[in-house]
């Protein structure tokens, strides 16, 4: 484009412009403190309407009182002073969305903060929206392959599901989330990672990790850092889900991770107390359940008639000393379609990911599992449940009958197989082969410390020698007799060659 052309274009644009004459509602700041402003005037303002301050900061009117409005300030409130003008915009808070957000790190207001230059917006989406209604939805029946064996087999997640990751600090909650994002490469999935009140160093590490794994091409990171105002932590998850909805509206499948909602609830508690709303249990305000339920209801799978697409949500909750009966954990457990419990004890025993299989559930995910996986995982689940029961017994004596011993040995091997390193997602086909070998007893005579090595080599061998089986799993999601026979032969050959 030549300079002349640009100037012509600009001239045309300016000619098209008509200045609007309108009456604007304004108020004055009466009081500013801790990120909250009390504003007089603004008599016609709506709840959660966006306002702008004279200094350019945005705010959201949350408390509409008789003679004043309580506004949370989104950003730096040090420049706002008493007597400043406040304008009502008549709109609910909006964020810019576009395909360009992919690969970017944005703040809670949707502006880039990664230093990669400005981002051209295509549309503006309101951050608060009513969740899709019943008739627009479809039941969950497509899998989200997390690449984490224990999850894909025992606590499967489907597209459109809400699965909670819950556990104490340092138990690997974020690690599971990041591994899941890394495994979405080529799975036709857009990922949104919402970081709420996290250390900036941690976010930097995650971004670098995703970049390294080639995952940033399909990922958006929304960040409200620990040093930013509580109001930004409060809106960040809604910003994230609005970005997710933008992609869902194009019929795409989206995975969104809220890391973590405990800090979100704390930020909202801070805002509520400053706005002088009455405190309830654990000093959280009365509407803290609605805070999370309206957010998580926006995760859904839409039917084709309404545009298709889905939003799968993985909220994270951090517990204190394993107390899952605290207020926020129980709330979020009851909202979600299941939870994955991570335990410190297991983590230090070396069982990583430290998933407590007994108390983790997925209420809708089993419909989304592929048939082959369902077949092997059913036996695996049973093996593990029996193992847990027997494990307690076995500590008391050694005179056990053979059947019990066999079950114990099988259980130990199952636990071993489910261990997995971080950043090492496993493809579904490989998982099926491993579990097949495990539940059909091919690993029973392999020493426990050799299990990992056996697994690795078995996969290498079978991929070369049981191609039909792999093809059937990839294409038809289930094996046929022919493929199974080939796999059994390959496993037997492999074992014979090795022992």
């Amino acid at each position: 484009m030549t300079t002349n052309h640009l100037v012509e274009n600009l001239k045309k644009e300016i000619e098209n412009f008509k200045a609007q004459i309108k009456v604007e509602k304004v108020g004055r700041v009466i009081e500013v403190f801790d990120g909250i402003a009390k504003v007089s005037g603004l008599s016609d303002i709506k709840s959660s309407e966006m306002v702008t301050f004279g200094s350019g900061e945005a705010g959201v009117a949350l408390n509409l009182e008789e003679d004043a409005v309580g506004v949370i300030i989104l950003g730096d409130f040090s420049k706002i002073k008493e007597g400043d003008e406040v304008k009502a915009t008549g709109r609910i808070l909006e964020i810019p969305v576009s395909d360009n957000t992919l690969g970017r790190v944005v703040n809670a207001l949707g502006s880039p903060i990664d230093g990669k230059g400005p981002m051209r917006a295509e549309k503006a989406y309101p951050i608060e929206k009513v969740a899709p209604g019943v008739i627009t939805r479809l039941s969950v029946d497509q899998p989200v392959a997390t690449g984490i064996k224990v999850i894909d087999a025992i606590i499967p997640i489907g597209r459109g599901q809400r699965e909670l990751l819950i556990g104490d600090r340092q138990t690997g909650k974020t690690a599971i989330a990041i591994d899941t994002i890394l495994n979405q490469k080529g799975q036709n999935m857009i990922c949104v990672y919402v970081s709420i009140g996290q250390k900036d160093s941690k976010l930097r590490k995650i971004e670098a990790r995703l970049e390294e794994g080639g995952a940033m091409n399909y990922t958006v990171i929304v960040s409200a850092g620990a040093s930013e105002a509580a109001s930004l932590s409060y809106i960040a998850p809604y910003t994230g889900v609005s970005i997710a909805e933008y992609f869902m509206d194009q019929g795409k499948d989206v995975l969104i991770i809220y890391d973590d909602l405990s800090k979100h609830a704390v930020a909202y508690r801070e805002i509520s107390l400053l706005l002088r709303r009455p405190p309830g249990r654990e000093a959280y305000p009365g509407d803290v359940f609605y805070l999370h339920s309206r957010l998580l209801e926006r995760a859904c799978r839409r039917n084709e008639k309404y545009g298709g697409g889905s939003i799968t949500a993985l909220p994270i909750i951090e517990t204190q000393a394993g107390d899952i009966s605290a207020y926020i954990p129980t709330n979020v457990i009851s909202i979600t379609d299941g939870q994955i419990f991570l335990e410190t004890d297991l983590f230090y025993k070396g069982i990583r990911p430290a998933v407590n299989v007994g108390s983790s559930v997925s209420r809708v995910g089993s419909n989304a599992q592929i048939k082959a996986m369902k077949k092997v995982a059913g036996t695996l689940k049973l093996d593990l449940a029996q193992f847990r029961e027997l494990e307690a017994f076995a500590q008391f004596g050694s005179d056990l009958d053979d059947a019990t011993k066999r079950q114990l040995e099988r259980g130990k091997r199952s636990v071993e197989v489910l261990k997995q390193l971080q950043y090492a997602p496993v493809k579904t086909e490989y998982q099926v082969v491993t579990f097949y070998a495990l539940v059909k007893g091919f690993m029973d005579d392999v020493p426990i410390e050799k299990i990992k090595e056996f697994e690795k080599k078995l996969i290498e061998y079978t991929e070369r020698n049981a191609k039909t089986f792999y093809k059937e799993i990839a294409e038809k999601k289930m094996w046929t007799d022919k493929g199974e026979a080939e796999l059994v032969k390959a496993i037997t050959d492999f074992k014979n060659g090795r022992h």
């Binding site: 644009e13 412009f17 604007e24 509602k25 304004v26 503006a124």
Partner: protein, 75 residues
């Protein structure tokens, strides 16, 4: 009632009278106490503030609106 008018240049008596008349009609007020402010930064035009409402007819506001229009998100 009271109102504030800010302008870049001093208003003529005639202009002021029209303005007061307009305000009286708009807010059904008997008296209007007008506070006048001179602000060169407004560049031109004037801006009235009354009853929690602002009518901004300054050049500065027009330029700001033009800026918003030119940098708006594409549809």
């Amino acid at each position: 009632m009271s109102a504030t008018v800010a302008s870049a240049k001093r208003l003529h008596d005639e202009e002021e009278k029209t303005l007061v008349h307009f305000l009286k009609k708009r807010y059904s007020a008997k008296e209007v106490a007008l506070t006048k402010i001179l602000d060169e930064k407004l560049l031109g035009g004037f801006r009235v503030e009354a009853n929690n409402e602002v009518i901004d007819l300054t050049i500065k506001n027009k330029i700001r609106q033009l800026q918003e229009y030119l940098t708006r998100p594409a549809n």
